[in-house]
Symmetry: C2
Subunit: 284 residues, 2 copies
Amino acid sequence: MVSATFSWLKGHGTENDFVLLPDHDGTTHGPLAPDLVRALSDRRRGIGGDGVLRVIRTEALRAFDGRIPDIDAEWFMDYRNADGSLSEMCGNGVRVFALHLVESGLADPAEPLFVGTRGGTRTVTFGDDQISVDMGVAELQGHTKVCVGDRGWEAYRVSLGNPHAVTFVDELADAGPLLEAPVYDPEDFPGGVNVEFVRRLLPGHIAMRVYERGSGETRSCGTGACAAAVATAADQGVPRPVRLRVDVPGGRLHVRWHEDGRVDLAGPAAIVARGETSADLLRQ
Amino acid sequence: MVSATFSWLKGHGTENDFVLLPDHDGTTHGPLAPDLVRALSDRRRGIGGDGVLRVIRTEALRAFDGRIPDIDAEWFMDYRNADGSLSEMCGNGVRVFALHLVESGLADPAEPLFVGTRGGTRTVTFGDDQISVDMGVAELQGHTKVCVGDRGWEAYRVSLGNPHAVTFVDELADAGPLLEAPVYDPEDFPGGVNVEFVRRLLPGHIAMRVYERGSGETRSCGTGACAAAVATAADQGVPRPVRLRVDVPGGRLHVRWHEDGRVDLAGPAAIVARGETSADLLRQ
């Protein structure tokens, strides 16, 4: 049997890139197979991306995934990592996801959009060329230490649902090629940690590199940018609300840390291509 | 002005991957802009690939590229490297190119297909699940030496139009992570060299890794597989014609070295997706 052709789109936010799979009622892909996610994400044998975003109605996904709560969001970002595993949320991914809904006429950019994710419902708002998403509450959790090779740095511990260690460096090159995970204190981070290396450029403007647990150094990390901004504001004693410009290798993000501890992440998003493929074609 | 949408396909041969641009009469892209090639090849902001193959009639390309000779091949593989530069030939690329012509009904797989390239006209033949291309004459040019870190190896010098140094190792891991170009003798290779590290598995069966000049370590290299096979046969004193199976990181290739010195490269090829984009979308 020849497998059916299906549509996809490719998009990115500051070079954090994704394959989008429109599957509004869940009948195209059903319970999304990890094999298909890996094949789509393969940069040489497939389309290529850091992850796959299925575009599905919350109600349709709940029909075959009992863990999806009954939430007040029509659309659900069914996010998978490139290795096929599930992930709760992705700050750059949800911005690309929201842009696709607007470009397809499925969401009104004049209104806030509620997107269901496994990390909870997220609110997305649309600016002229920026898409902003609430990333929940950032928690400063004290200090820790990280090392790369024979160099060590004091670091801030920051949680955005996932754990971060934020260090300040004089030059971004100081962290070296980051071929291996920075060494961290396993008592502080029993499940591993994402490490941000931050250089202060100007008041309200930083540049960073990030080593993501499980992925290595990446071009951009939404929660990492938020953690870096929060640690910078805390380190400098800047009162909230505060807004920081965060340069990542793949572009520029903007982070707002509100008085109530919530963080917004804003930045560009783009859908760059659309096409068709099938499971059989990807299996070659 | 919004730039026009155009079609593309994505294909690979042993994970050497390409963006194909059908532009039969040259009117879609005209003189192909290096900027567009780079944007298409970008793995995060574009489609992603090791290079771009424009599918164009030889006559159409000659209309705006005076260096294209008057050859007896209807179709021309207008090959560009991912960085936008021109390249004469690509052994995996021409096999993917030929598969696309067959899948589009533009070539008959029962007949040999002549494909124009800047390296000359190539003959492609189609097997059940293999596509074979003549790679021209391989020339053994004596010995040289290459080093990686503090390890050094004797190597065969082999030319397939481009220069290769082929070394034999006990384990493919012996060459290490190959983050930097192996050190070679600049008198032997004034224009740089591609280096193959070969492990003998069985008679007629080798495995290799390759460091391509300008690209770094890659998943597959057509001329590299041919050079590795030729050096292996020469080293073992096997008389021609000889056939070798060559395992590369991205799959398996087959090389035949004929009595007259000519080499054929055979292996799988696949078109995995097709789609649309525009220069504006890729510029985001």
